[in-house]
């Protein structure tokens, strides 16, 4: 799984293909209603594309539970997965905002890393907790704004613009850390995420609240609708009176803020920050976002699909690790899951389009 080497067209191609899946399935539905009552039930293909990821997740949980009855289906393991995945969920949610608007933001991992380093550095320098958090969010907002200006005002390809800002941030990371590991000295800052609520780390609550908030914004407000219109038909949206530039810009800025928040939480929870922290979080976030776009609402980058994408990848790597698999197996699993889910969605879409024409 290595998106950055692919041409910048990747998301569009994927979107288009995935969308045609929805297109044909809707046609199926409506045409059965009106003309062909014979084919009422959606076929295997429709189910596979809409719920394939969920079915696969359930199967995986069953298989791991059978194979590892003592270690996998335990409350401790479930809690560990949920707490561990809270921060990746927030970063994946950040990723779907620019994706919904039709653009890639490759700087999100770097923003997370720089924000984490900033948090520990400021906290160790004696800054009070609110100041640390605000500073981190400001970092995210600034980088997001720079990305937005480059993409919207100057007209730089988003892939390149955000790659450039990511590279700058990785340099700043080395500068701030002096190329050595930063260790958090403050317990108060650590408590921000590790305080237990109902026997779970509070960071999970943050992820849930942010998911609900983003779900509301993307699905239930004009903002979300216009954001999607910007991604799906920018010219048409603009000529219909949607200020597409604003939506595009705000998607980068909000994504930057969310990624920075994820970084601050990561620093709080982990207590350390390596000078190279960040980029390794980017690809799993995108993998989850793309997996998410094949499920719940196929063809759309959607919040719950993305959350399920994160959980799927986490359950896979957790189960494989408990089975004693080495790290390389996990990576192959993640890549293969993405490859298969997206390919299946595209292939079924093609087949159905052919059948309907």
């Amino acid at each position: 799984m290595n998106p950055p080497t692919a041409p910048t067209k990747t998301p569009e191609i994927f979107q288009k293909e995935a969308m045609s899946t929805t297109a044909s399935s809707t046609q199926e539905r409506t045409s059965t209603k009106t003309t062909k009552p014979a084919r009422k039930r959606p076929d295997v293909g429709t189910i596979a594309t809409s719920y394939g990821v969920i079915i696969f997740l359930v199967l995986m949980i069953i298989v791991f539970s059978v194979l590892l009855p003592d270690t996998f289906p335990t409350s401790d393991n479930v809690k560990a997965i949920l707490s561990d995945q809270s921060i990746p969920v927030i970063l994946a949610l950040a990723a779907i905002l620019p994706l919904a608007a039709g653009e890639f933001d490759l700087s999100l991992g770097a923003i997370l890393g720089f924000s984490a380093i900033t948090a520990i550095a400021l906290s160790n320098a004696g800054a009070p907790l609110p100041v640390v958090i605000l500073a981190c969010l400001a970092v995210g907002a600034i980088v997001g704004t720079v990305n937005a200006i480059l993409v919207v005002k100057v007209g730089v390809n988003a892939f390149i613009a955000t790659l450039a800002s990511a590279t700058i941030l990785s340099g700043l990371n080395l500068l701030v850390t002096g190329s050595s590991l930063l260790v958090l000295g403050s317990d108060a800052f650590g408590a921000l995420t590790t305080t237990r609520v109902f026997d779970l780390q509070v960071v999970l609550a943050y992820a849930i609240v942010l998911s609900l908030l983003l779900f509301y914004v993307i699905e239930k407000t004009p903002f979300g609708r216009y954001l999607r219109a910007t991604g799906m038909g920018r010219d048409a949206a603009r000529l219909s009176g949607v200020r597409v530039d604003r939506y595009l810009a705000s998607s980068f800025i909000v994504a930057g803020i969310l990624a920075a928040l994820a970084g601050a939480l990561l620093a709080s929870r982990g207590g350390t920050a390596a000078p190279t922290l960040g980029p390794e979080f980017l690809l799993p976030a995108y993998a989850a976002a793309f997996l998410g776009a094949t499920t719940i609402k196929p063809g759309y980058f959607n919040v719950w699909g993305t959350v399920i994408g994160v959980v799927l990848l986490a359950v896979g790597s957790n189960g494989l690790t408990l089975l004693g698999a080495q790290t390389w197996v996990t990576n192959i699993f993640n890549g293969a899951a993405l490859m298969i889910a997206v390919s299946a969605s595209v292939l079924v879409g093609k087949r159905r389009r052919k059948a309907s024409s």
């Binding site: 979107q15 969308m19 929805t22 297109a23 809707t26 046609q27 409506t30 009106t34 509301y216 239930k220 407000t221 004009p222 609708r225 216009y226 999607r228 219109a229 799906m232 038909g233 010219d235 048409a236 949206a237 603009r238 000529l239 219909s240 009176g241 949607v242 200020r243 063809g299």
Partner: protein, 521 residues
């Protein structure tokens, strides 16, 4: 002498089409068309929009597969059908499309090379820049183009671009000079459409020189004057049928126009509405842009104003400027007596001016979204409660507009991409006109729309105007204006050159007005 040479070898017809038909899902785009293109002559191919011209060219280019039973002979050799782009090229067919098909970011030499080939020994052999440039320079010289082969195509002005495209169409790999000219058949699709009038002469002159050197040309154009000047033979298509195949010499511009338009008496004429004298809603003075050269217009409440013109006349630019999608380089606009200078479509819509853009699939509809989402796009503020979307309100609003604009099927949750072109367009019109406003701009609103939907859209527009909306309808399809517009302005190469009202708004007269402009200029 060249002509006699080739006569001996291949006969006098460079290309012969027999019994060519093409059916698209039951619709006949071409109906048993047969004609011949004489060698060493310029043959004009004329026809209105939808006459089958482009289908014919695409069959020649190997894009479309003709219906069985057709025969195609090129240079005396029967071609296997369907053609492929490769067999077309090998038979000497060269196509110069309206957009010329050059890549802006490459040099002239590179643009030449990827049509024929790079001057290299084999696919992986080293490319010799020097040899390539020499070859290209020689061809350019023949066309009196004084630009270095290493110049970027993007740096050329439109006329030079067209000339380079022309030169490329006539180059030939190993054969040099006159022989290559004699072998190739160049199909030019409206090469002068987007050129300023003073530059057209350059292109026509070089075509005449080409002919003098034995070149064979098929010239597709709407500009009757140009055709009259350079063509020897006239081929006219109407509704997919061949209606004329004759020498041009004896025909006047009027004769040509009437053959192109045909007598359409069988068509039911829609009763014209009486012109109402409302207040001036939208006025523009001296609008200048990339193509427009100072356009003045006024449209009144309740009036349907047509803007007619050929491809490249600046009609789309005018609509885009009025709709706030593009800024004029100079000029002044007023809306209901107040200065109007929209910086975006959003501003224009807020001021009461909305538009139905030309390219429905790209600029009109968001294809992966539902009918409901498309109708309410840009107007969601009406459908919120405490900042959140009110699903029921939105659905009801969409249903109301679906009914008002008779969108079929009346299903707001259906994806717009699954509707017919006509119904997609009704959705776009509903969005533009269903939320109030004082002026509606339509750019080719019935392009790619079936006859019934065309009628329905015309009725909708008529109803909107009757309710007091000021409508501007821009189109290259003159049929669209008949029975609908109160007044039609003729736009030619960025200037308004004529106006038609009343009984003068008929296809023949409008076509004649456009054709005459070429003559006047």
């Amino acid at each position: 002498m060249i002509t006699s040479d080739t006569d001996v070898r291949t006969g006098s017809d460079a290309l012969r089409i027999e019994n060519l038909s093409k059916t698209f899902s039951g619709q006949r785009a071409l109906n048993e068309v047969s004609f011949a293109v004489p060698r060493g002559k310029i043959t004009a191919l004329l026809g209105m929009n939808g006459s089958g011209k482009s289908t014919l060219i695409k069959v020649l280019a190997g894009v479309y597969q003709p219906d069985p039973g057709a025969a195609l002979t090129i240079g005396g050799t029967a071609m296997p059908l369907p053609m492929t782009p490769r067999t077309a090229h090998e038979a000497g067919l060269r196509f110069l499309h309206q957009d010329v098909g050059l890549v802006d970011s490459l040099t002239i030499a590179d643009n030449f090379a990827f049509v024929d080939r790079f001057r290299a020994p084999g696919t992986f052999g080293p490319i010799s820049k020097r040899r390539q440039h020499e070859h290209v320079a020689a061809t350019l010289e023949k066309f009196a183009i004084s630009v270095h082969p290493g110049a970027l195509v993007g740096s050329l002005n439109p006329t030079l671009r067209t000339m380079v495209g022309l030169a490329r169409a006539f180059q030939d790999e190993e054969e040099s000079g006159v022989q290559a000219f004699a072998k190739n058949i160049v199909v030019l699709d409206e090469p002068t459409a987007s050129l300023p009038v003073e530059e057209v002469d350059t292109i026509l002159t070089s075509l005449e020189e080409l002919k003098a050197n034995g070149g064979t040309v098929i010239y597709v154009s709407h500009r009757t004057e140009e055709v009259k000047r350079i063509a020897d033979q006239l081929v006219i298509l109407r509704d997919g049928k061949l209606v004329a195949d004759e020498p041009i010499a004896e025909l006047g511009v009027d004769d040509i126009v009437s053959r192109v338009v045909g007598k359409r008496l069988e068509k039911t004429r829609i009763p014209r509405r009486g012109l109402r004298e409302g207040d001036v809603v939208l006025a523009a003075q001296g609008i200048t842009g990339r193509r427009l050269r100072g356009v003045d217009l006024k449209v009144r409440s309740g009036e349907i104003l047509g803007v007619a013109g050929l491809v490249g006349c600046g009609r789309s630019e005018l609509i885009r400027i009025l709709a706030g999608a593009q800024s004029p380089s100079s000029g002044h606009m007023e809306l209901a007596g107040k200065s109007y200078a929209p910086d975006s479509p959003a501003t224009a819509i807020a001021a009461g001016v909305s538009c139905v853009p030309q390219e429905r699939r790209r600029e009109g509809a968001v294809l992966p979204m539902s009918v409901r989402e498309n109708i309410t796009l840009g107007r969601l503020k009406t459908f919120t409660r405490n900042g959140a979307l009110d699903g029921r309100k939105e659905r009801n609003g969409a249903l109301r507009l679906i009914e008002q604009f008779s969108v079929k099927p009346a299903d707001p949750s259906r994806l717009i991409g699954l509707l017919s072109g006509g119904n997609q367009q009704k959705v776009v019109v509903a969005r533009a006109a269903g939320f109030g406003g004082t002026a509606l701009l339509l750019d080719e609103p019935t392009q790619g729309v079936d006859a019934l939907a065309k009628q329905e859209i015309a009725n909708i527009v008529r109803g909107l105007a009757a309710d007091g909306l000021a409508v501007i309808l821009a189109s290259t399809d003159f049929e669209e204006f008949v029975g609908l517009c109160d007044r039609v302005l003729i736009l030619d190469r960025g200037r308004l050159v004529a106006e038609a009202t009343g009984e003068d708004i008929n296809e023949e007269h409008l076509a004649l007005l456009c054709a005459q402009q070429g003559a006047a200029a």
